[in-house]
């Protein structure tokens, strides 16, 4: 075989092995992805909790019930295995730094509403080995449950205990499920996601909507004209473990 024949044969084999060239392929590739129209958007979502208003209804759990019903959060009686997205705990547990002894007299044993703080510097995101938890551009600390491998590094990193691990299949513990939202499976970590699925449809988070005293105020922390920013500028507020530098986006008006 001379060189000319060899090159011809090599060229023909390469073409055949490479399959049909792209420009002959019939399938049109004009597909595109766009954000949903009518979605609520912000540069940094935040939440203020007017705790005085919250205390006016000491036995009200409307926000917790609304959140857990919408997101198929199971009700597991064994507290070591419980799942919670939003819950209540006492002041001294939520704010363990204890600013001064007299504040403690005022607030000890008072219930505070707790949830994921959607920190500006989220330590959970830094430690996640699969980027299953990540920071969205609008400030939401998001979970991609498809990617979670259940290593629980994020739970160790979160200083607020905002994350729960599914030790068992959660489905049997969901009494009435919401068919529009998935559940989780055994072996993944879950938490509050600031109702990203409601924001996409132009709705405010379920807990904010459920509060009859309007004690929860949701808005854009980087929008000077938002109700949230005006409120935070006019009233004194505290954040959980602010000294850690995670910059929580959940504020407590006291």
């Amino acid at each position: 075989m001379d060189r000319r024949k060899f090159l011809k044969l090599a060229g023909l084999s390469a073409t055949l092995a490479g399959g049909v060239p792209g420009f002959l392929n019939r399938e049109v590739k004009a597909r595109s992805y766009t954000p949903p129209p009518g979605a609520l958007t912000a540069r940094r979502w935040g939440l203020a909790i007017d705790i005085k208003k919250c205390w006016e209804e000491p036995h009200c759990n409307d926000c917790i019930k609304a959140c857990h019903a919408v997101h198929n959060v199971p009700d597991i009686p064994d507290r070591k295995k419980e799942i919670k997205w939003i819950w209540k705990d006492e002041f001294e547990h939520a704010f363990p730094e204890q600013p001064n002894e007299f504040n403690n007299i005022l607030f000890t044993h008072k219930p505070f509403l707790l949830l994921c703080n959607h920190c500006k510097n989220p330590p959970c995101v830094r430690v996640c080995p699969t980027q299953a938890t990540f920071k969205r551009e609008d400030g939401i600390v998001m979970m991609d449950y498809h990617r979670c491998i259940g290593c629980r590094f994020c739970m160790a990193a979160c200083p607020f205990g905002a994350r729960s691990f599914n030790w068992v299949d959660p489905r049997p513990y969901i009494k009435e499920f919401n068919p529009e939202f998935p559940t989780r499976m055994k072996g993944v970590v879950e938490k509050c996601l600031f109702c990203y699925e409601r924001l996409e449809k132009g709705q405010i988070p379920a807990c904010v909507e459920a509060c009859k005293r309007k004690a929860l105020i949701f808005g854009d922390l980087e929008d000077e004209n938002s109700e949230l920013v005006r409120l935070l500028k006019s009233r004194f507020s505290i954040r959980r473990k602010a000294e850690l530098g995670t910059e929580p986006s959940v504020f407590y008006l006291i």
Binding site: P36, A39, D78, P111, V168, F177
Partner: protein
């Protein structure tokens, strides 16, 4: 060749054993799966969906969850809301008559439904004891042991 009286029959038996699935099923026909298709069109052509639905689903979940891109514009310009429960299953209203028909035939077990809820689901099953749980004697239904503790803290909070 040494020991050819043993080696050659051995090779023949080995080849017959390895190819057993081929000639065991030879000549048998199995009906092709018939998934129930809803009226109207899907997001892309039928042939494309048949061969590429897994890639589309994978792209969709990444785009929707990770990039916030919830609207899909198909190759012919039609627009669709991205979602499994909120998108696909709004038309394909019965997972057992659509997804399962082919997946069972092809013996593939995608894990979509460990979390996503098929539209025909009425209620979730009671927990089933796994072999591991039985081995360690762990009850399948988590007990009420935690409840007393929970009430105690609650009363504590009342003071």
């Amino acid at each position: 060749m040494y020991n050819s009286d043993k080696v050659i029959p051995g090779i023949i038996i080995f080849v017959l054993f390895v190819t057993l699935p081929i000639w065991w099923n030879h000549g048998k026909t199995v009906a092709a799966p018939q998934p129930e298709l809803p009226q109207g069109r899907c997001v892309e052509s039928r042939a494309y969906m048949r061969s590429h639905h897994m890639q589309i689903l994978n792209d969709w979940r990444n785009k929707a969850i990770r990039d916030g891109m919830r609207v899909y514009t198909a190759s012919d310009g039609a627009r669709f809301w991205i979602g499994l429960q909120g998108g696909c299953m709004k038309c394909h209203q019965d997972k057992s008559k659509f997804c399962d028909r082919c997946h069972e035939f092809a013996a593939v077990k995608p894990y979509c439904w460990h979390c996503h809820i098929p539209p025909e689901t009425k209620e979730f099953e009671e927990p089933r004891p796994s072999k591991l749980l039985k081995l360690f004697g762990i009850p399948e239904k988590l007990g009420e042991s935690g409840k007393v503790e929970a009430e105690e803290t609650y009363h504590h909070a009342e003071h």
